[in-house]
Each structure stands twice: as C-alpha cells, then as structure tokens.
Point group: C2
C-alpha cells in the first residue's frame, strides 16, 4: 500500500526552497511514497523543475492562495486563512486523502488548525507535542513540549498514554517505560500536580517507572518522559542551547591556530560520527499527538536535511500505525481515563 503524505510546501522560514528539495530527496528513496504538495503552484513547480516527469505519478499539487505567517496569531490563521497551504494540507488528512501531514509552519497556528480540523481523539483532553530525543542508549520520547503551559494530573496521565503508544509503534516495544519529569527521584519531591500525576500513572496499566530528573532524559532510562508544556519546552530548548554552545566551543578551539586546524582536519571523520549521533536535523520532527490524524511539525528554520527527516518520521509513523495503536488503546481503556471525581476534588483543594 502506498503511504500518502500531504506537505505544507509554503511553511517554515524558507518555504519551497527547503520543503520541495527535501520532498524530492525522500521520493527518490521511498518507492511506496506519494506526496500531496500544497501551496503556490508556480513556486512548487519551479522547485520541482524537470524532475516532475520522473515523479508525475507520485506527486499531486494542490494550489492554494494563502500562507500562514510564522508570527501570525493562531486565531487569525484559523479564521482568515482557509485557503492557506497549512490548512489545506491538514484537510487532506481529514478527508482521508493523506495518511499524515508535515508542516514547518508556525507551531501555534498548526496546533490550533489541526485541532479544529481533525478534532481531539476520544479520551484525550489536550493534544501534546512529542519529540524523540537522542540518549546514550537510543531514543526517548518527551512530551508535552509546549502545547499546554498548565496541565492537570489527568492531562499528564494522558500524555503518558500517548507517549507510550507512540513508542510502542516507533521502537516496537510492547510495554514502553514511562517516567515523569521531577526534581528528585523520591516520591515526596515536586509540586502537587506532579505528585498526583505520578499516582495516576502508578495506578494505570502503563509501565510506570517513577520520577526522572532532567539529566535522566539523556541516560535513556525510560522510553517516555512526561511533563507539562512549560517545563518540557524549557528543557528541550536548554538541551538545544547547551549543545550549540559546546559545538561553538569545539569550532572555536579547533580553529584557534594552524596546529589545531590540522588536528581538526584529521579529526573530521570522528567529529562527523559524533555529530551524526546528536544531529539536530535527524531529530527535527515533532508529532502533535492526540488528534484524529498524524501531524508532524518540522522546525521552522529546518534545512533540507531537517525537513527530509521530518518527512521520514511521518512516513515511519504512518507505516507502524501510531494513530491506530493509540485509538485502539484508548478504546480498550476507556474507564482508566474517565474523569475522576476524586481528582476534581483534589483540584479544588489545590486552588485554596
């Protein structure tokens, strides 16, 4: 069966200059892939160029007249950009024409539009942004990374469910371990929300590990790290920031003088292997989980490599049926995720 992805060709800081070359590269590798390229027809065709004939049966172009700005408010994008490349690309998933959508467009607008068009899955209150992170042992999924700045314990439990089903599909583990991000490993640590969420996770049928700390993410001691969108976003960006600083130090020190430059030259194969292990491009795609359809968010500033990896991720997640696994789990565990009266009571108390 062919895997069909729709692509917001205009999204991101560089639009078609990045998205289309990445699409062509991925088409040349994945013979079961069809792409619906959504955006300005002329801009798309000018990038596809003479390779159109080669892929004519695997590319469909849908012309749109609007583009969602990278700084545009989500509400404005939803209301006044009904013919945007982003909106129409998402529509393809809603109508069943595509199995998933990839966009490098602005995160807020993408989340709001996708939520409006695709709706949240039964059993999920809030979609979350999830990402695979490189660890010393392999990969760990972390969520939420910024969709929900304030979360209840119930939301965090749902994030655990979503992350676990993602990892079930993506890395093929039947019962992925789930940890909750906290500031110590002991049960007494953290704020009330985190403590109560840990209790919910413990009492669920997930493979709950317990508390994990910021440094544990990269040790790979759990498959899924659950956290609220505020903490998750700060943690992710902190990781990106220090990785960049170390790369900057490496570059500066290796180009300090002629001797260090020669050493750098000789070290190139080793340095390249290291880069490959923690390459941000490779970990570019984030998935908006909890919607009735697969939505992959590429970094707005991604290069061709980065957008290519986002496409690859979408392809893989369609292939292993992440959305189906999550839907199946939610249907089989309706009771566990139903609103808990005790929980609501707890919330009332906490606000006193």
């Amino acid at each position: 069966m062919a895997i069909i992805l729709s692509v917001d060709a205009m999204g991101g800081d560089h639009g078609v200059n990045i998205t289309i070359p990445a699409c062509l590269r991925f088409l040349s590798e994945s013979f079961d892939l069809k792409l619906i390229l959504v955006g300005d027809r002329d801009a798309i065709y000018s990038q596809v160029g003479d390779r159109l004939s080669q892929y004519s049966d695997r590319i469909e172009v849908i012309h749109t007249t609007q583009v969602v700005g990278m700084d545009e408010a989500p509400q404005s994008a939803m209301r006044s950009k009904k013919d945007s490349s982003m909106r129409v690309a998402i529509n393809q998933v809603q109508t069943g024409k595509a199995h998933g959508v990839v966009s490098a467009g602005n995160t807020g607008a993408l989340m709001a539009t996708a939520r409006y068009v695709l709706r949240t899955m039964d059993g999920i209150d809030r979609p979350a942004i999830a990402k695979l992170m490189p660890t010393m042992k392999g990969e760990t999924c972390m969520l939420d990374l910024g969709a929900n700045v304030e979360c209840t314990p119930e939301h965090l439990l749902q994030f655990g469910v979503m992350g676990a089903q993602l990892m079930r599909g993506v890395v093929g583990k039947s019962t992925p371990t789930v940890g909750i991000l906290n500031i110590g490993s002991e049960d007494i640590k953290g704020n009330e929300t985190v403590k109560k969420a840990a209790e919910l996770l413990k009492n669920s049928n997930l493979n709950f590990y317990g508390n994990v700390e910021g440094n544990d993410i990269f040790k790979g001691i759990v498959d899924v790290v659950v956290t609220d969108g505020f903490t998750g976003n700060v943690s992710l960006k902190t990781a990106e920031g220090i990785a960049k600083m170390i790369a900057f130090s490496l570059k500066e020190e290796f180009s300090r003088n002629i001797f260090s430059k020669l050493i750098a030259l000789a070290s190139l194969p080793v340095l390249k292997r290291i880069k490959k292990r923690v390459d941000p491009s490779k970990y570019n795609g984030a998935v908006l989980l909890g919607l009735n359809g697969l939505v992959i968010k590429s970094h707005g500033g991604a290069d061709v490599d980065g957008f290519y990896y986002a496409l690859k991720q979408a392809h893989h997640e369609v292939e292993v049926g992440v959305i189906g696994l999550l839907r199946e789990y939610l249907e089989q565990n309706k009771g566990m995720l139903e609103k808990d009266e005790e929980l609501l009571e707890f919330k009332d108390l906490s606000s006193l």
Copy 2:
C-alpha cells in the same frame, strides 16, 4: 583583612577525603584565607597530616560528633543533629566568626538549617539557589534551581533582585540585565505567574530584558535568568545531562579504533581547552541567596577540583561583598518589594 570561611568537612559523598585536600590546595594559593574546619577531629587531622604546621595559624578545627546523612530529611537533620558538622559550620557565620560557609552536604538539610540559623533577609520571602552557568559570552546567573517548587510572581521578582545583586558583585556590572525564563519571547507567552512576574520586573528598577528561552541561557544574552525552582532544576539537570551525553559520545568515538585514538592523542590540548570552558567542576558551587550570611553549596559528588572551586567562589563572593550589596539594595528599595495589594488580588483571581 583575612577572609574566614567555615567548612562542613564531613559533607558530601566522600567527606574529608575530598573537602580537606581541596581546602589545603586553596590555602596554598590564597594567603588572606583562614578556614574553620568543622567535623570529626581525628578524620580531619588525618587528612591534614604533616601540613598542619604549615597552616597552623590559618586553620581552626572544631570537633563535632554528628553528620547529616545525604538522604536525611531536612526536618530530622534540624531537630536531632545540633552537633552536626553542617549545623556547627553554619553557626560560625551566624556568630560572625566566619564570613561564609561551604558545604557539600544534602541540599534540603543545608537550606533548612541555614534558613533556621541565619534567617531570611528583610524583604525576601524565600531564599533561592543560584548558580553561575557558562555561556558563549561569559557567565549567567540562574535562579531558583530547586529551593522553591511553587513560586508567586513576587517571589520571582525577589529572585531577580537577588540575582542582580549577586552579579553586580561577582562580575562587577552596575546594572546587570535580568530575564525571565519562558517558552517564547512574546509577552503573551507562558503561564499567569510568569506573565505577572514579568510585569513586576518591568515596573521594578531592575534592568529587565524580558522573556528568555531555554536556549538563550547559554547565549549569554542576559546576566540573570529568573525562574521557579521546578523549571530551574529541570533546566540545570537537562543541561548537565546533555553535556555528559556529548562528552560520552566524544569519548566513545575517539576511542573507537587505533586511528581515532591517535587523533584523540593529538587533539588532547584542544579537547582540554574545550573541557576547561564548560568544566562542570569549575561551575560547581551554588549559592543559597536571601539569607543573612553567605552559604555555598557544593555538589555532593564533587571531586577535589570541584570542592576547590566552591571554596574559591565563596572567597570571591565574600571579597566583593555580595551579602552587603544585597542588604543595601533591599534597604534602599523597601517600597518596591512590599506586599502589593493588587498582586494579592491577582492571586485570588488566578485560583478561581
């Protein structure tokens, strides 16, 4: 004038095996330094050995019979360990015998005991844990790193005040810039507490920069990064975790085969310079700010190098008069930090 530091010689994972060699090293460099070594007399003397005669006029040993366990509950440490090395070392600051205290003991117990013995400064509701972090431009102070898991906007404003006065002393800037950790640079981002705190900081006489994100910490765009203890702790540990993972990758790749090992050998001077820039030992000491006295917390697992840097930091912060600067600022700005009725009203609203 001599600078006198009291040292919790028994604190940390390795006690006197680490603390005393670090003390001796620092004594050999700083001729204006006197140390009060607090702990088991025999254990201390066995480590000082024959160097006692050399430093006899610059070392005082106070014998104590108890040690606070690294996992001991703060309350238990405070109640039943009145003759612990930690407690008695803090007492030296309270009585004015020492200008500051350094401990690698358990953070919770240290904070609770220091708060009980030294009391919080007038104008400060909650002490915070602050740390200098290496950036691409120099150093940035981040706080709180874990003392307060839930913070009001007022607490965050106070953290801004404390961080700014610390940086005024430590890096000698008259008006250090202060940023608040958030998940976007726009004013509308973040939760209610952060938004309100940003407003308070803006209306204060601090040099407020605005929102900063996780990756901005290491760009060094502000001198002080303010955040709640939960987010701060996760961010700090995330940074430590990814730095360790990158170091692990470097080590693994450079020792993969005989060729890469030779390259590593040749790269040694360059790699050493890089390590020096982001060396965790160098950034070991955290300061408990907001107390009537200087308290430096070393990492529990610190090695001699690490504890040495914690001592050095204490010495420097006494030298530049961090506590005096903060006290002076608080006295001159009493009005700004007084309880704000509007703020209390906001708090009531937010809990609805």
